[in-house]
Amino acid sequence: MAIVELQDVKKIYYLGKAEVHALRGVTFSIEKGDFVSIVGPSGSGKSTILNLIGCIDQPTSGMVKINGTVTQGLSDRELTNLRHKTVGFIFQSFNLIPVLNVYENIEFPLLLGKDRPGKKEMREWIEYLIGAVGLADHTHHKANELSGGQRQRVAIARALVTKPEIVLADEPTANLDSKTGQSIIELMKKMNAELNTTFIFSTHDTTIMSIADHVIRLLDGVVVEDSKAQAAAGGLV
């Protein structure tokens, strides 16, 4: 079942009078539970695709369908609700809320929704995630008391706390050393396997790319390789 569908998606940015064609008719779909890597050089459109899937931007034309919902025409409130229920974000610079500690940062998305679990259930779930990302000893540390790798672990737990269908990670290892980056990708893979959450991440790192079970390669706003589509068509991956 496709959790993400993009059909002939085009995205044009306007810089003054100049038009920048970020996506020039992108079509692909992602299945639930996939561990997807979107790769390509800078300016190829990776971030634009993540923005569209994350419902924080709208295509100029074409269709984006997330978990069965077409995003075009939704109001800001509806898009926010869709994001909250369906998508988790892992940012390149971690983007933790500086005044909150590890526990509170992970808890934060849960407090934004109306359908919150019970207090006990919520605490147990957060503690499970903290344990799963290996930060049980840092529960009450603030972001500035953590290393880059630890911060990204918090971000992974935060992205997973609402049990979203999709987790988007925008170059999650770019600000980490290779060893830490590797461990973060392994953690994401572990959570992907345990929770059957779809992970979609953009990266330049070929090592990380190899762990993905679905690779979408972009060049100049066009998909030049879609490993799953090609496999389905009997082509080479």
């Binding site: 971030s47 993540l50 923005n51 994350g54 924080i56 931007d57 800001d76 409130r77 926010t80 609700n81 994001r83 909250h84 229920k85 988790g88 974000f89 940012f91 390149q92 610079s93 971690f94 983007n95 809320i97 500086p98 005044v99 909150l100 509170e104 808890e107 934060f108 998305p109 407090l111 934004l112 929704g113 935060r158 992205a159 609402t162 925008d170 170059e171």
Partner: protein
């Protein structure tokens, strides 16, 4: 809500520079507001208490007229247009007022301004209150301290000279006034011409609580003040009547007319002037003729009403208004502040000026705070974008900014109120002496011991809320436009 408060509180603590700048501006502003307004409120209450207790009562009944009519006469151009009106149907009004259970005392009064001279020498001017001593003292038992001599005897005439006026006059004449000395009082107006009365000083007094305006007031028998105020009913010149007029008057019993008129004023004690002391003149407009006039006995310009409690003020105003309307009496009530005149107005005017200055300061504060908040919000675009990306609605981030501003404003306000309260406590202990007339007017007397005014505190918090709301409006608008894309962009 808990998470909003948590984030807001921690942001306030974490952003020390912003907190310090905004906090200091707010705290100092509120401190000035609390001290200033408490100061003004104490002065205003002092003026109110002291005027009601000593000079005006709670209400002043006068004839119906436009213009700024005070106990000292008109204090605007109306003075040129018309004299202070008499109270119509005075007896009926007194009867009605006496029937009201919350009326504690009544005092009729007449006012005039006169130039004082002795022989050929003009010495100065004084304001005269024409009163009946017994009623005046019953109305204001604590305000007159007799320094020498006393009030004139019932049925007699005289002036109780204010010590402050006497000192001014003595500087001109070069000797000390004593009871028994006589002074000439001259009043001039476009309505009544020039009037001169020679009146004996029966005593010297001072108002126990006085000020620059009241230091000019002397107390005189009502008969003389009526004459000086031009309250006459006609002229003593024999009139030539036509045959028709004589025929008409011949049908009326003059005795019955005057006896019935007298009964109207039965409860008012009026001293008739002694004939041999009357040598006043009336210079009528343009004529230059010297004519003798007859005092309008029983006529009053003011009826001062003291209530058993201030809480009855509104009710009294309503009751009198209804009575005047029902009876068709052209009279009206004025409150103590109107009665007190320019001095009380000046004090309130100074408060208005102060509040205007505070308003200007508040506008400047809003601009500084708004700029600081805008910088703060701009610095936090990534954080706010992240919140939006992970599911926070616009309303959430708007509330966050408003709560942060309000928290900061509220805390600063508390510090400001605390500091202001402390300053007021110290000022209250030491007391502020009025070193000149200007401060005496502001203080409402020779000394002021300011007290914390709860209305000033409430006003301060209203100002805090307004400043907080206005200051956060623009930063909030910026935040509302912040796209979750900002989180992605700033992260890269």
């Amino acid at each position: 809500m808990r998470i909003l408060l948590t984030i807001a509180w921690r942001n306030v603590r974490q952003h020390k520079v912003k907190t310090t700048i905004i906090g200091l501006i707010m705290a100092i502003g509120i401190m000035v507001l609390v001290v200033g307004n408490s100061f003004m409120d104490t002065a205003a209450k002092g003026i109110e208490r002291y005027y009601i207790k000593n000079y005006t009562g709670h209400l002043m009944i006068t004839g119906k007229t436009k213009g700024n009519l005070t106990l000292f006469g008109f204090q605007d151009v109306t003075a040129i247009e018309q004299p202070v009106p008499r109270i119509p149907d005075y007896a009926a009004i007194v009867e009605f007022a006496s029937s009201l259970p919350y009326v504690a005392a009544l005092n009729p009064q007449v006012s005039a301004t006169a130039v004082v001279s002795r022989g050929e020498t003009t010495l100065g001017a004084t304001q005269l209150f024409g009163i009946i001593p017994e009623q005046y003292q019953a109305m204001f038992p604590d305000n007159v301290e007799i320094l020498e001599g006393g009030f004139w005897e019932p049925g007699q005439q005289g002036v109780l000279l204010n010590r402050a006026v006497a000192e001014l006059l003595e500087q001109q004449v070069g000797f000390t006034f004593r009871p028994g000395d006589k002074l000439l009082f001259t009043s001039v107006s476009t309505h009544t011409g020039m009037r001169i009365r020679e009146v004996e000083i029966t005593g010297l007094f001072r108002f126990k609580q006085s000020n620059v305006q009241l230091d000019m007031v002397s107390l005189m028998d009502v008969s003389n003040v009526r004459d000086l105020a031009g309250m006459v009913v006609g002229y003593a010149d024999p009139a030539e009547l036509s045959s028709a007029e004589q025929q008409f008057l011949g049908q009326i019993d003059a005795e019955s007319i005057f006896s019935s008129l007298d009964s109207l004023f039965a409860e008012v004690s009026v001293e008739e002037p002694a004939a041999d002391e009357d040598f006043w003149f009336s210079v009528l407009e343009g004529s230059g003729e010297v004519q003798a006039a007859v005092e309008d006995t029983g006529a009053w310009q003011y009826l001062l009403v003291r209530l058993s409690d201030e809480k009855y003020l509104k009710q009294a105003e309503k009751d009198f208004a209804r009575f005047f309307a029902e009876q068709g009496i052209a009279a009206q009530t004025r409150d103590w502040r109107q009665g007190a005149g320019a001095l009380a107005d000046l004090s309130y005017g100074i408060k208005s000026v102060f509040n205007t200055v505070v308003l200007i300061i508040a506008v400047v504060a809003v601009i500084i705070i708004m700029n600081t908040l805008v910088i703060s919000v701009t610095e936090r675009m990534s954080e706010i974008g992240t919140m939006r990306a992970i599911g926070a609605q616009k309303s959430f981030v708007r509330r966050l900014i408003v709560i942060e501003t309000m928290l900061l404003s509220g805390l600063s306000g508390l510090v400001g109120v605390g500091a202001g309260g402390l300053i007021l406590l110290v000022l209250n202990r030491i007391g502020l002496k009025a070193t000149n007339v200007f401060f005496e007017i502001i203080y409402g007397g020779p000394e002021l011991r300011p007290e914390l005014s709860w209305s000033a505190v409430l006003l301060s918090f209203a100002v805090i809320a307004a400043v907080g709301a206005v200051s956060s409006a623009y930063p909030t608008a910026i935040v509302m436009k912040t796209s979750p894309l900002k989180a992605m962009e700033s992260s890269r």
